[in-house]
Amino acid sequence: MSALNAGRGQLDARFRYSRTGPSRGMFELAVDFRIQPGITILFGPSGAGKSTLLDCVAGLLKPAAARIELNGQSLHDSAADIFVPPQRRHLAYLFQEPALFPHLTVEQNVSFGLFGANEVERASRVQDLLAAFRVEHLAYRKPAEISGGEAQRIALARALAPAPRAVLLDEPLKGLDAELKAAIVDDLRSWNKIRQLPILYVTHQRDEVDALGERVIAVDRGRIVAEGAPHTVLDAPRKKRVAYAAGFENHLSAVIQDIREADGVMRARLAGSETELELPLGYAAVGNRVHIAIRAGDILLAARRPEGLSARNILEGTLASLEKNGTSLVCRVIAGAVFLVHITPGAARSLELAVGQHVWLVIKTHSCHLVED
């Protein structure tokens, strides 16, 4: 197999890609990174540009000012007018959905990329891959007859069949339970053990980063905001932009008011308002300016003043806007500062939310994360 002899792979990329979206205006992705053999996690919130980045590397999109090299060989060099089409990049690319060809059997799907090989070699390659990902018993089934986890294993086998030189995985295990995920990743790791290909693995879930990570690249709003080992990039988000990448939608400037060592908490007043938040004790002194990061999904929304709760932060505010984002709703609430709150459409209906109405935000102390300025 050619991939065996290719030795240690390395992917270098530097490009800019911009697009004018129908609703959100201009989006620009500008990145510069290097991927070594093994799994590199590409981590960031939804809409950060992760999938776009993979599409650019795969050649499905054509970025500007691009230099993309694989093992020193140019895939895209806009200065030299080189653009290798996706058909000839020899990459494996697994989308969020398995995207199996529905009219072909599992076996035909996996052998789709092996059209150069002869019949015998092809059959044995397919058998090997189906076995490596534990789906050999499904060879003659159609995609409609298998489960989501199986479909994703087959999609992985199909992507790896043509002996790719690098692997791109776009949240490939979305929607699978943790155990299944771990099993598939183990299979991928052992497959890659002798091959040593660079693998770029996209996710927006922290637990996956912790489980997989050898190296993490954090992206946010089209920029790389941090790189390195998982714990240095993600634990205790120190910089505002990294906190963003770690999935905190809310960033509040505040000044520490008092510190209660015994209770393990401190209080901070939001800049330009009277609103105070209680947060866990951190490295800060009274009078310090700090940033507080809160996930939009960690804030509860109430239509009436809540009582008898353990949560220490109950803020009164006004609902400024309500916007659909995928399956959830994004509420913008003005309560001293602007808070983003994610709720489900069902919750919005039962609360009978209307823009302009009075609402209360409920935030647990431990949902408030201190970020150094």
Partner: protein, 222 residues
Amino acid sequence: MEALWLSVRLAVLVAAILLVVAVPLAYWLAQTAWRGKFLVESAISLPLVLPPTVLGFYLLVALGANGWLGKLWLAWFGHTLAFTFTGLVVASLFYSLPFAVQPLVLAFESVDPRLLAAAAVLGASRWRAFRQILLPLSVPGIVTAAVLSFAHTLGEFGVVLMVGGNIPGVTRTVSIDIYDHVQSLDYAAANRMAIALLLISFAVLSTIYAMNRRVWSPWPGR
């Protein structure tokens, strides 16, 4: 029954030629990002809204000895197209084009673009992806296109009358035959033909409805 046989021959021929023409045309329409695409769509759809006599009139002018197509044909084959079976075929191609193109565009556009992206990343050329992924997944649309062009050609009247006239065995199709019988008050003969046409049309339409496709689809949305 000569007229019915002629109509069936015409419809089969037109449907077959239309598939060959419409598949690449629909593929292009389904995947092009060209801004002037709506002009092509409108031109193809014209026969849906124009009275057949208008279309027939212009086709007659074009196909006649003084028309550009007629002249070309005359130069190559030594006779004109108007009032010939070939002329009928050419006219019917234009008349039934939207019925072939629209279901095909709809079918091509409803194939998940990620499947084609997956095929590309796996190294498949555009042609191979078209042949092995797009076409097989569009089979219901292809059947609908074929059946609709066949049925629509079978039932046409105005265009045939304008371009083909009424020459038995050459251009007298079943709908004209029925009209003729009614004109000469031969209701029994008209009824035989009408029932035959009705049954064939019903059989054809029930075939595609049984395949659970939207038949009279407008241009697919973008």
